[in-house]
Symmetry: C2
Subunit: 206 residues, 2 copies
DNA sequence: GTCTATACATCGATAGAC
DNA sequence: GTCTATCGATGTATAGAC
């Protein structure tokens, strides 16, 4: 276990991609334990033996799928991060960033399924959770921290900790409202959340 | 499916409790799909037929376990919420509350497993996610909102939204550092987080 | 009510033909 | 390299003795 290579050089490249695509669909929908290799094979349009021939065993296939997702989903959380005019009003830049991150994540159902799996399997697959932290959370945190540090007019006492406040606020909001179906139970508009968050950070004058 | 009664009046009350305890242990450790009724029976010290006799099927048993947990874990997230001197310095009250919530959740591994399961299974068991929102998230949000609203000296423009900032900050911190094993990858002390959060909320002067 | 024994489906993984 | 066929283990659920 745990010897996932990126891909294979031999064997059919087309089938490899088909298996990865089918496995991704099934794992995202059902998690690890509820996904059988028969389902994966059927979703990929190949035989079960071919799946094993390409990826060894179920756990290795799961590893490859999750690592691929962790690498590819960075743009969803950070957006294209268009090199927007850095000299704009910080308040507008901040609320713009927050709104864009919120919209990106809300729109990308596959990303929500990915987060679900990562958290759900983080007990039995701690290495996968770490891959998420390294490839997604850490870059996002560092990018935001650099932005905060390069804007001394925000007068932030602790930019790195402020980033956690912002990330936590946004992530938990999507989790509670969308993924855990809290939208109708504890309703709150994205605008109110983003505005409040922005005001708290930019009005931080002591 | 979906006809979980609280308990049974007939049958052995002692065995019912043993089954619930064993099922809770196994479901929390492995999630729904990876937990077999054989494991539950063994953990409870009864036969598999007895488990079925008491709870009908696997899904009903899972429902009862999760609902019980959602009802009982309120104190973990809110603490005993000791009716602390309401006339204290809001800054101290706020950081005290945040610190206590953080410590409670970090200490209670069972609660972390519970959150893991809720999120992990929220796709296939949306009703269970809603039970979490109704029994845990909503009361916590409302309690905090009332506190914020009863302290006009905080000068919060939107207390309800500010509560989400605070909850999200704390919840995501525990998730990233503890549950997803990010402690060594993106380290940050609880004190810095709590201090920053408290300053942002209390220094919100426009 | 609780047990043992078992029915029947599906699981992960592999052997062997092509 | 890819398939069909199959193995042994394990899954949910139940029948029937006590």
């Amino acid at each position: 276990m745990n010897k996932y290579q990126t891909h294979e050089g031999s064997k059919s490249e087309a089938k490899t991609e088909a298996i990865l695509k089918g496995a991704m669909k099934e794992f995202l929908a059902g998690g690890y334990a509820a996904t059988s290799m028969d389902k994966v094979a059927k979703a990929a349009g190949v035989s079960k033996a071919t799946v094993y021939s390409h990826f060894g065993d179920k756990e290795s296939l799961f590893n490859v799928v999750i690592h691929d997702l962790a690498r590819d989903k960075f743009q969803t959380v950070m957006g294209l991060d268009r090199p927007q005019s850095l000299n704009e009003d910080p308040k507008k830049v901040l609320s713009g960033m927050a709104t864009r991150m919120l919209d990106n994540v809300k729109r990308d159902r596959q990303f929500q399924d990915f987060i679900r799996i990562i958290i759900g399997e983080s007990g039995r697959f701690p290495e996968l959770a770490k891959a998420y932290v390294n490839n997604l959370a850490k870059p996002a945190i560092e990018t935001l921290t650099k932005y905060f540090e390069s804007h001394p007019e925000l007068e932030l006492e602790d930019p790195a900790a402020t980033v956690r406040v912002m990330m936590g606020t946004l992530v938990y909001f999507v989790m509670l409202q969308e993924m855990m179906h809290g939208k109708d139970i504890v309703p709150l508009s994205s605008d109110r959340l983003v505005n409040t968050l922005t005001e708290l950070i930019t009005n931080n004058k002591s």
